[in-house]
């Protein structure tokens, strides 16, 4: 079992899920991630701990070595994480197919089918294949295997968007697919260029020094999936359009596979520091303005990945450990927040700040769990991000990236604003929307509770968590200065929020969209195609008309000279010919004499 790549169990599980129903299917979706986690921990996990990195399978293919199961501490960390995320996701999605839950008022806005059924079988199968693809990608030891799973990630996850079964979700899904397929094509191109230079397809550190175009192509391929600036809108488009359960899976895998790939391939690449810092910074402004709370979490996702990308760019042991540790923590706390918003959507059919508020009265347990997730992402002491994000920030100071640190500190306050306060405040508190519902189904509460426990466990027992991290380091997050300064930052940030709301400066939620880079391909691109197309048609029509006119004029001229009555078509008498010859002779003589 040790040498069996972890994705195999998930792909086999997907087959079983496809042909089973009811309780059997529910048992299978829960058993697969748990069994997979146990096998990975007891097998490769122990082996790597004792003997170091391992390649369990290798195949020769036209002179290149394929290695579909390479295990080391980095891939194992993500392997464990994806098993846990899959388990949480399936617990959360267990009720699918049972119809809208008791007490749900989603039917009032026509969403009862989306929150209760929404192609349950398809979602379970797609999620199982999607989780398997993520595992396949992080255990891939070569670029070809990585490429295959990279594309499978896109193809399997798009069904979680299409499961919403709306015109908008279909369009969003197609855009999502195109963007991710482009990323895959770039990955393959970069890998081929690299292999041409090095003769190897092994996926190890690539970097930007000495790898020329291959390095940059691969960086862009990874960057598209990680949500680099200008390529980030697939996240904010897809997450709000998926089903309540689908978004929980979507938020766990794709971007974290990209973070893993960056950590393995580009640790220490300087541009990542600045790309990551930009990612922490710009989304928080959109998050303030955005009305759809799942889209707010999409922006929050980009912001958090920014910290990870910057950490990878800094490249020291502590920074890279911080980046991957933060990826681990993010899957749990962001998953918890998406689950809380999914629970709200399941019970109310709504996710917009303008529609929600006051739900703490009828969903107090969900509100509490959401606040735990909010505290975790905001990096309150004793919660997960406090012990993960701080590694990246300390590393920034140690490496003298002082301006970067200032941006990160600002972005940390921004996280508190949109994820720590706005998400719970506008959904559960604020103005009472009058929506009266109940707590979500028990399976959703259980999944959220496990997520909340993990958020606290990582925050309370960091040293145990740090043993999973891939690199050696010496870091202790709990000292008086760190705890106190972080509490000061958060408390006075919150005080800033209170003063902004009380003075009326804080902007109201509005039923509107705020244009972002997506306008380039959703509006400007189509407009350009239409405009250039229309211009081309007009030029074409003009050229055709001009040529026709020219031909018509020429034919007229020829007709005039050579037509029936044309002078050149006339028969000339011999006398006039002799006259012309005589004239020409005379001219000739005059000219030469």
């Amino acid at each position: 079992m040790t040498s069996l790549p972890p994705f195999v169990l998930f792909f086999a599980g997907a087959l079983v899920v496809a042909v089973t129903r009811g309780a059997v299917r529910k048992a299978v979706v829960l058993a697969v991630p748990l069994a997979g986690l146990a096998v990975l921990w007891a097998g490769a996990g122990q082996d790597v701990a004792a003997n170091g990195a391992q390649q369990y399978l290798t195949w020769e293919l036209i002179g290149y070595t394929l290695s579909p199961f390479r295990a080391d501490k980095l891939s194992l960390l993500f392997g464990y994480l994806f098993h846990i995320a899959a388990f949480l996701g399936f617990v959360y999605a267990l009720h699918l197919g049972d119809g809208a839950p008791d007490g749900s008022v989603a039917g009032d806005v026509g969403e009862d089918d989306v929150v209760g059924n929404a192609r349950a079988g398809l979602q379970h199968v797609a999620a199982m294949l999607y989780a398997g693809s993520a595992l396949g990608a992080v255990f891939a030891g070569d670029f070809i295997t990585l490429f295959v799973f990279w594309e499978l990630l896109a193809i399997t996850s798009v069904f979680l968007i299409w499961a919403r079964d709306s015109e908008r979700s279909y369009a969003t899904g197609f855009r999502y697919l195109i963007i991710h397929v482009v990323s895959g094509v770039l990955l393959l191109s970069g890998a081929l260029v690299l292999a041409h230079g090095t003769g190897s397809i092994t996926f190890d550190h690539v970097g930007l020094d000495g790898t020329g175009a291959a390095g940059w192509i691969l960086l862009i391929a990874f960057g598209i999936k990680a949500g680099f600036p200008l390529a980030h809108n697939w996240i904010t488009e897809a997450y709000p359009e998926s089903t309540p359960t689908g978004t929980v899976f979507l938020s766990a895998f794709t971007t974290k596979v990209a973070v893993y790939a960056l950590a393995r391939g580009f640790a220490g690449a300087d541009p990542l520091i600045y790309i990551g810092t930009a990612m922490t910074f710009f989304p928080i402004f959109f998050a303030v303005l955005e009305n759809d709370l799942r889209r707010v979490l999409g922006y929050s996702m980009i912001n958090q990945i920014g910290f990870m990308v910057a950490g990878i760019g800094i490249g020291t042991n502590m920074a890279v450990n911080g980046a991957v540790a933060h990826a681990f923590a993010d899957v749990i706390f962001k998953g918890l927040l998406f689950m809380a918003m999914g629970a709200v959507m399941t019970m109310t059919g709504r996710t917009k700040g303008t529609d929600l508020g006051g739900l703490y009265k009828t969903m107090p347990f969900t509100a509490t769990l959401c606040i735990v997730g909010a505290a975790a992402i905001s990096a309150f002491p004793l919660f997960s991000a406090f012990v993960t994000k701080s590694m990246i920030m300390v590393a920034a100071i140690e490496e003298h990236h002082y301006v970067v640190w200032l941006f990160m500190l600002f972005a940390s306050a921004g996280v508190l604003e949109h994820a720590g306060i706005k998400i719970p405040f506008f959904s559960f508190f604020a103005h009472d929307s009058g929506i009266r519902t109940r707590e979500p189904p028990r399976n959703m509460l259980v999944a959220m509770s496990i997520g909340a426990v993990l958020c606290v466990a990582i925050g309370v027992f960091p040293s145990q968590f740090y043993t999973l991290l891939p690199l050696e380091m010496d870091y202790h997050p709990y000292d008086l200065r760190h705890v106190l300064t972080q509490l000061q930052l958060l408390a006075f940030g919150a005080l800033g929020f209170v003063t902004l709301v009380k003075t009326g400066v804080y902007p109201d939620e509005k039923r509107a969209v705020h244009i972002d880079a997506e306008v380039l391909y959703r509006k400007l691109g189509p407009w350009l195609v239409r405009t250039v197309g229309a211009l081309a048609l007009r030029i074409d029509a003009y050229v055709r008309a001009s040529v026709l006119e020219f031909v018509r004029t020429s034919l007229g001229a020829v007709d005039r000279s050579h037509g029936e009555m044309g002078p050149l078509a006339r028969s000339w008498p011999a006398g006039s010919m002799i006259l012309w010859v005589a004239l020409l002779l005379a001219a000739y003589l005059i000219f030469y004499l």
Binding site: D102, D112, K361, F410, Q486, F492, G496, D508, V513
Partner: protein
């Protein structure tokens, strides 16, 4: 598909703590006390070692984090507001809609 279990017919109109002004006042008082305590706690840091000092901490010496946290929120919002004026569009903008119109406003408005 279930259509028949809409909870608002069954649940009594609940009264939450936010409906009671005295509890809301108490909550805010508690929050302000915490802020004041954390502000005062700056003096605890006087003797504490700082293993990774940032130039900003060295230059300002005191109250770096409370000031930075508070100003960050104001900066964030004060920059987001003009951004909204520039970027806001109708909800169906990508489905053919255009400018954002304030609910109830006859002509296009903005924040």
């Amino acid at each position: 598909m279930s259509h028949g279990h809409h909870g608002h017919h069954e649940v009594k109109e609940p009264i939450g703590w936010m409906d009671r002004p005295e509890k809301v006042r108490l909550f805010f008082r508690f929050f302000y006390v915490i802020c004041a305590a954390l502000f005062a706690a700056e003096f605890l840091l006087l003797g504490a070692e700082n293993a990774h000092p940032h130039p900003l901490e060295e230059r300002m010496r005191f109250f770096v984090y409370p000031v930075y946290g508070f100003l960050s929120f104001w900066f964030l919002v004060l920059l987001a507001r003009p951004m909204r004026t520039l970027l806001i569009r109708s909800e169906d903008y990508y489905e053919g809609g255009g400018r954002y119109r304030e609910p109830g406003a006859g002509e296009g408005g903005h924040d």
